[in-house]
């Protein structure tokens, strides 16, 4: 009897990780991706910036939902935009965000990322906020770790990130009033143009991390 119990128990313990993988938790999702991105960035040596950026791009694109992010940043004006304009906005905003993401991560590539094990679930478990703490190297002990929170939602292909907050400030909604002003003065096309200009300017600045 005791032996049976033991066998059942060990089976259960062995099976747990398998069960977990079948429906990966948002925490594992964030942990794995942060690790992958940092690993790639650590191979940066000043000459391969371009290549690294492409690599990051292919890694990151499927993990974020850029359309949702763009809509979140654009806010109520999203309804005013035609589907074509929405796609164009998403494209431009995606280019900008990936660029910013890559260079920010490059700047902090030696940071320690500590992914907190318990995510906050919202909306009946369809949304999750994963908290992480980033400790910068060489910053001295007195620097508090920076809290970076990822908001994810569940899709049929797994979790997707659509919001990132640093110390409680959303990097996505911080765009909202700039976008709003732009749309009010120059319309949705004006916003698309200003995003395009911004991207062109960044691209012309070359590979500067």
């Amino acid at each position: 009897m005791k032996k049976l119990l033991f066998t059942l128990l060990s089976l259960l313990i062995l099976a747990t990780p398998v069960l977990a993988r079948a429906d990966a938790s948002p925490v594992d999702f964030v942990r794995e991706n942060s690790k992958q991105v940092l690993d790639v960035l650590k191979t940066e040596n000043g000459r391969n910036t371009r290549k690294i950026r492409d690599q990051i791009e292919t890694m990151v694109i499927p993990k974020f939902d850029f359309k949702r992010m763009t809509a979140f940043a654009v806010g109520k004006n999203w309804r005013v935009a035609t589907p074509g304009q929405q796609d164009e906005l998403t494209n431009q905003f995606q280019t900008l965000l990936i660029r910013v993401y890559a260079s920010t991560m490059t700047r902090y590539r030696n940071a320690q990322i500590d992914v907190k094990p318990n995510a906050v679930l919202n909306n009946n478990g369809a949304e999750a906020t994963v908290r992480t703490e980033v400790t910068l190297p060489n910053s001295g002990n007195s620097q508090k770790p920076i809290s970076v929170d990822y908001t994810l939602y569940k899709t049929s292909q797994g979790w997707r990130v659509y919001n990132v907050s640093v110390e409680g400030a959303s990097l996505v909604t911080a765009y909202r009033s700039q976008f709003d002003t732009e749309v009010r003065t120059n319309g949705v096309d004006g916003l698309i143009k200003s995003l395009k200009d911004k991207n062109a300017k960044l691209a012309s600045q070359g590979s500067g991390a």
């Binding site: 109520k76 999203w78 508090k144 907050s165 765009y175 700039q178």
Partner: protein, 268 residues
């Protein structure tokens, strides 16, 4: 340098209430803030940033850490005073221990032994104290030289600068105190280099990006007590915006029926 923020602050307080259609309801002073921002930005690019970058180049990290720790220790002393003013005994005890440990074992604050000992850095400011006693929402205010703030926090900063006991107790001669202020500004600017570079790259309008991020950050810092008022005030429409209404989640509603909120369909 000390009088200037106070003068500007008075101007700001007088100007409150006579602004026209701001892009953020928390920034009725936008025209004035923008001009101070532009002034700061020019000064920053011409002087502060080059100096901070040179400082980063010339001094080794341990030296910079020592300098920033020294000023952090002063801030901890201020934090202690504010913990008492805002009636937070646990934090006050914590900050008292921080100052005691770092001033003695840490050689006048140059080494931060308190953090590895588990004493958290609170850095309660006078603005936090005012927020604690109920002044939660405050209009955005850009201070000359010092940058993003709010009317509440600016008032706190101006008062702290005005009283500035460390000028008399620690530095004695005004010249020494001014040098110390200068070093503190350079040290602070150096620590913010990465953040400002990131904003430069990310923002279309750096002014409003900085403002909105700053206000959200501040709301999160003081929001511990009032979760209701903080997020609602940070951005226009933040509260009544349901992302699932803007974009259908995943375009595959069958997998996530719980995302659809039938009650949230009212147009606005």
């Amino acid at each position: 340098m000390k009088a200037m923020p106070i003068v500007m602050l008075c101007a700001a307080l007088l100007a409150t209430g006579c602004a026209t259609h701001p892009s953020n309801p928390q920034d009725p002073l936008e025209p004035m803030n923008r001009s101070i921002y532009n002034f700061n930005d020019k000064l920053d690019r011409a002087v502060a940033q080059p100096v901070a970058r040179a400082y980063r180049q010339v001094t080794p990290q341990p030296a910079r850490t020592g300098v920033s720790n020294f000023f952090d220790n002063l801030l901890d002393a201020y934090s202690l005073a504010n913990d008492i003013l805002s009636a937070q005994p646990v934090k006050a005890m914590n900050d008292l221990m921080r100052v005691a440990v770092n001033t003695t074992f840490g050689v006048f604050g140059l080494v931060d032994f308190a953090t590895p000992m588990g004493l958290k850095s609170n850095k309660t400011s006078l603005g936090d104290t005012l927020a604690r006693w109920g002044w939660k929402d405050s209009h955005y205010l850009v201070l000359p030289i010092l940058g993003p703030s709010t009317v509440r926090d600016g008032l706190g900063t101006a008062t702290t600068l005005y009283i500035g006991p460390e000028r008399r107790i620690l530095f004695k001669a005004p010249a020494t105190a001014n040098v110390a202020d200068g070093v503190q500004l350079v040290s602070r600017r150096e620590r913010l280099l990465d953040v400002s570079d990131a904003i430069d790259e990310a923002a279309i309008d750096p002014y409003s990006y900085t403002r909105d991020a700053y206000l959200q950050l501040r709301a999160a810092q003081i929001g511990g007590a009032s979760q209701a008022s903080a997020p609602a005030s940070q951005t226009p429409n933040a509260d009544d915006l349901d992302i699932d209404q803007l974009v259908t989640p995943d375009a595959a509603p069958s997998t996530a029926p719980s995302n659809v909120k039938p009650d949230a369909s009212a147009p606005h």
